[in-house]
């Protein structure tokens, strides 16, 4: 096992081991660069992954204290993971690409009141090549020659209903879940429990793909259980070292360069909490935009009590998709679009989700039809708003002694209009299949889709990072997670995070080899 000394100032330090940090680690290590990856959470093995949502929620989730203002539930305002693999342990594996019109949001949608829409500084044409590479790496089904996963019950209901409603663009989706044995991992056994970590390792997760591959290079050291508390700026204005807590002790690792990939909330906290004379408002925050433009996709649900049994839990969570509403068609009354996917619930989670709508027979008459339920998840674009932001509480501290992040979020009117339309669209699908009852559920539980708080762009006055995720203000500091997204698109973010990390790695490799970093 490779280890590096704390005094080794030649190492590239990556903070976070999920989709961004895990991929960047492997890419840099495989190009011969020395990498230390600091991960706040523990390193699980496949043996630690069980088919129990409650147990895995507690094992995977970032449960340190967070606060909220505005819409989010103060008890659980944001979802992230604290484990090696980060949110790639929890994700469903869905890998849609951003649509070109979504990467040109400002040009396509036009100016939107109270939103900070921009076009991406990376063109869709350039991204297409990186999407190809990311899909190949992850074995995304329905792309690059990888077969689709087989259709299961919940998807078959969605598909049949969608066709009756005139939709045509649907299949079992592009999933980073093995449909064939590959990459030393088995094909999907349709366990269900995708969001609880995949117990057989069919779902792509950096815990058992990128991290071991990085270790095999001999250029990589993973340090789990290491919570970064400080980024120290040297006389030359560059990050000189990274300080972290491990088992209650503080360590300082010297660094040649640093990348932060903490799934937005931790990335924001780390930047904002490292103030100095040179960076009075936090690192890389001369624009004042660190923590602002926080975006999250809405994730609303529709369930149907169907005329026959569905057993919607007997398959991958996200078992198929309808894409027809993804397009930008302003005649619907909103800009951008949304995806319609399948989703199942365990009885416990279903009951808890439905409790906001009532208790008693209203609830149990649905639960009594559990075997007959079909479920769909509707996920749509969220416009960036300057005031949706993550800040640090002035007094409250968490167990590490760090200021507690405060999540402020409100739905944009465009989002409210899209949700209203999406609920109706979902209801129509199940009604077309003869549903006895249709239940609409709101986005009480946040998705792990966190984006936008260190947006990339060309202009240092209006963005935090350059188009390669390098902060404008600090030459050797990068951001490698969804924080970079200038807009949120109408789809799951992970594939784009991976594609951007691979692209960033090539850039960093060039800069390192040219002696510019």
């Amino acid at each position: 096992m490779t280890t590096f000394s704390l005094d080794d100032s030649s190492v590239f330090v990556i903070i976070g081991s999920g989709a961004g940090g895990g991929v960047l680690s492997r890419e840099l290590a495989s190009r011969g660069h020395k990498v230390v990856c600091l991960e706040a959470g523990p390193r699980l093995t496949l043996g630690d992954v069980v088919n129990d949502e409650t147990e895995m929620f507690n094992k995977l989730t970032w449960l340190d204290r967070r606060m909220a203002t505005g819409k989010p539930d103060p008890n659980f305002p944001v979802w992230g993971c604290k484990t090696v693999g980060g949110t790639t342990m929890h994700w469903t594996g869905a890998c849609p690409r951003f649509e070109p019109h979504e990467m040109r949001a400002l040009s396509t949608y036009g100016e939107m009141p109270d939103a900070t829409l921009v076009d991406w500084p990376v063109t869709p044409e350039e991204m297409a090549d990186w999407y190809d590479k990311a899909e190949t790496r992850m074995g995304v089904t329905g792309t690059q020659g990888y077969p689709h996963l087989p259709p299961g019950n919940n998807y078959k209901v969605l598909e049949a209903g969608a066709r009756k409603c005139g939709y045509t663009d649907m299949d079992t989706h592009n999933m980073a879940i093995n449909s064939i044995d590959r990459d030393g991992r088995p094909h999907c056994r349709q366990l269900g429990f995708c969001t609880s970590g995949c117990a057989v390792g069919a779902k792509w997760s950096t815990l058992y793909t990128e991290i071991p591959a990085a270790e095999e290079t001999g250029n990589f050291e993973l340090r789990p259980g290491c919570m970064v508390t400080g980024l120290e700026v040297g006389e030359d204005g560059r990050i000189a070292s990274v300080t972290y807590l491990s088992d209650g002790k503080s360590y300082t690792q010297k660094a040649r360069a640093v990348s932060v990939a903490g799934n937005v909330v931790e990335t924001t906290r780390l930047l904002l909490n490292n103030r100095s004379q040179r960076h009075p408002d936090g690192l890389a925050n001369s624009s004042g935009l660190v923590g602002r433009n926080y975006m999250r996709h809405f994730t609303i649900q529709v369930m149907g009590v169907m005329p026959g049994k569905v057993h919607f839990y007997r398959q991958t969570h996200l078992a198929g998709v309808v894409r027809d509403e993804r397009a930008h068609r302003p005649e619907r009354g909103f800009a951008g679009g949304f995806l319609i996917s399948t989703v199942p619930f365990t009885p416990e989670v279903l009951a808890k989700n439905m409790l906001t709508g009532g208790w008693g027979r209203d609830l149990t008459q649905v639960l009594d039809k559990y075997e007959y339920l079909a479920g769909m998840l509707l996920t749509g674009e969220d416009p960036p708003q300057l005031d949706n932001r993550i800040t640090l509480h002035p007094e409250a501290r968490d167990g590490y002694g760090l200021p507690v992040p405060v999540i402020h979020y409100e739905d944009h009117p465009n989002t409210i209009a899209m949700k209203d339309y999406a609920w109706k669209a979902g209801r129509r699908i199940y009604e077309a299949m003869g549903a006895e009852q249709v239940i609409e559920m709101g986005d009480y539980i946040p998705a792990t889709h966190n984006m936008g708080t260190a947006r990339m762009g060309e202009d240092p006055a209006t963005s935090v990072c350059n188009p390669f995720g390098r902060t404008h203000d600090v030459a050797n500091l990068f951001v490698s997670d969804g924080s970079l997204f200038p807009t949120a698109g109408g789809c799951n973010p992970t594939l784009t995070i991976v594609a951007l990390a691979m692209r960033q790695a090539q850039h960093i490799d060039g800069e390192l080899k040219a002696g510019r970093l």
């Binding site: 078959k156 056994r189 149990t364």
Partner: protein, 167 residues
């Protein structure tokens, strides 16, 4: 003091009329008081999550677990007891003896109270994490030990109209 005075009066007034009520209509201390507390908690849990196929013993067992959890949290226990006192204070009969429709209307009056929402959320976990509830609802749970559902019905739906291809 685990039962409100109003609740006690209600019980005592009806104790002579309703068979089986005598055991509840005793001063609120000792084992009998705990059992009244448990009986009301179980009835409340049943009102929250009524499944005809789950018997009273099931709800009592789950309510007992909840009360055990509250035992280490004096403030929450006090709030829970105060809430039960309201439910038992109908002047008609203790909550457990009321018809479902009356229980519903009484619960509706307290369903925004913190003691209720706490019990509701934890109650959902206790009830729907139990194998007996899973068996009732038809949820099969952990599948990895059986090799998943790939060969056990993930695509066995048989009531859909013939589809024109899915891929």
């Amino acid at each position: 003091m685990s039962v409100s005075r109003r609740g006690l009066l209600g019980r005592m007034a009806f104790g002579a009329l309703l068979p089986g009520l005598g055991a509840l209509a005793v001063p609120a201390h000792g084992a009998e008081a705990v059992s009244a507390e448990l009986a009301t908690s179980a009835a409340l849990l049943n009102a929250m999550f009524p499944h005809d196929a789950l018997d009273a013993g099931f709800y009592r067992e789950m309510a007992a677990r909840y009360l055990d959890e509250l035992a280490t949290r004096p403030e929450a226990l006090a709030a829970h007891r105060a809430g039960l006192g309201v439910l038992d204070g109908s002047y008609i009969a203790p909550f457990v003896q009321l018809p479902e429709v009356i229980q519903r209307s009484m619960v509706a009056k307290v369903d925004q109270e913190p003691f209720f929402t706490a019990f509701l959320m934890r109650g959902a976990e206790l009830v729907y994490r139990d194998q007996r509830a899973w068996d009732l609802l038809g949820y099969e749970g952990s599948s990895v030990e059986y090799g998943g559902y790939l060969d056990r019905g993930f695509d066995d739906i048989d009531w859909l109209p013939a589809a024109g291809g899915t891929q």
